[in-house]
Symmetry: D2
Subunit: 163 residues, 4 copies
């Protein structure tokens, strides 16, 4: 079976309640919740690499370059990228032209994993399967569907990714 | 995109705390938790059909016949079956010889969805993707991996499905 | 045993994840989470009266007047007020001079009930007991302690109410 | 303010999902969930002493003697005992005649804390307040009410403690 790497960049799936500022924030660098999510999922084989913990609306070119670098340098050919839903489509389309020989699947969530009742585990479970079984290329997995990079965009009206 | 049917048969994923008997039980017939799981996952397109709410260790031949009947009669070609992990492999192997023209994916959980911190959403998220994108045949999806029917067996030592 | 009224004014205990604005907000008016909290607590006897769903930092004089009015007009002598922690002490001190013949207990939470792992149920459980068993007056209950109105202030450094 | 000791004896509040036996069990000795419950409640001052992790239906005379011994030997005068609901009344009545100079409050839950949506935090929050503010004697706190030892009995029909 294929080795899988999960590259963590932040996004809502990794947000936490910021008790001081009474809003949403991120845990300190290095404290992504993705390892805990995988532990609850009893999914022990992926290698998790946290490169960013940011809202994807705040990504700059250096951030997207860091994602591309991490994807290209991964020894695995099955790659999942956790990402904010705000600009997940843009990152997917940038990666699409620049990665070969790998299946890259972007995913995320509309509700933080740390709040419970999150769509994150369902989405990540789909992404891990997709990374191992879809053809080479760049894909998004959200809410039970696979999207090609060019079709990966949040419907901000419904708060969903649909067709 | 493909229509997906989820056939619910019970298993740990659907168990609840039985306050009277102080153990694990099932909600009354018709009250599967899979629709709530899908709602939290923001996954609105699958058709959910509850045919049983039983521990798969208690399945008899009539129960397996009911599963086969439901799979064969489904108008969709992408089918997910939620199932107890105790005999999931046996059911998969029985179905394997008797279904054609469909992708059937069995899945379940080691911890009930209703207890929180369950592997169920991750597993079901993977199964819904697999049902749409794997070749025809009967498969299992657990803990981030796809298993052929013949290789789908719980490692009772680790409490996992591994390779 | 005494009848208990819970007057709901909002605060963090009642906040929810705002998926559109990607921050914290409140459910629509009339949709406080306190009834669900009480149902999980299997505490069925209090009467719940939602008068506001606001962050207490946004309270104006009309809001505090509405709280005073509700407390004074309650037929019960045991009253709990759920309140934001930001100005809970100020409201307590305003009420303290103006209510007689009743035990009024203010409480709230540092983490929303709707996010799980909240301090809200523990705090409300203490407040409901305190309202029935403390002497007449205005009190705060937070994190396992009872505070007199004059001593009820969040330590913004620790994010706790301590002595 | 008073020091509080929480004496842990097990009961449903401390039960966990037993994945192997597919039922309810307890964590290994020394791994009570009460410290985590208190951490979520942001209640840092009580001293927690685990003496048993058992279903109270399985208590024998040695177990009740151990509880009495722990209560008598506690340096604090405010004591909470977490206890299974099955025989909580019996233990309360046994303690009632044999402890003086202390306020002892028994509490528990109908749903395990580890399953989420538990009544445990609400009950324990009430018990911690009651232990500090009720008169000397032995009491039970469940579901928002204080019960004298002689009136502390589960209504097995409703699954509640009521009056």
């Amino acid at each position: 079976m294929k080795d899988v790497r999960i590259i963590v960049t932040g996004g809502t799936i990794d947000k936490v309640h910021d008790m001081q500022g009474e809003g949403l924030g991120f845990a300190p660098s290095g404290a992504s919740h993705i390892p805990l999510l995988l532990e609850q999922a009893r999914c022990f084989f992926p290698k998790v690499q946290e490169i960013l913990l940011k809202d994807s609306l705040d990504f700059d070119e250096a951030d997207r370059a860091a994602i591309l670098f991490a994807v290209r340098n991964a020894p695995e050919t099955a790659i999942v990228v956790t990402h904010g839903t705000g600009t997940i489509g843009r990152t997917a389309r940038e990666l699409a032209g620049q990665v070969t020989g790998k299946t890259v699947v972007l995913t995320g969530a509309m509700r933080p994993f740390s709040f419970g009742a999150s769509d994150g585990p369902f989405n990540l479970g789909g992404a891990v399967i997709a990374a191992q079984h879809l053809p080479e290329g760049v894909w998004g997995v959200m809410n039970g569907r696979v999207f090609a990079a060019e079709a990966l965009d949040k419907n901000t009206g419904t708060g969903r990714f649909d067709t």
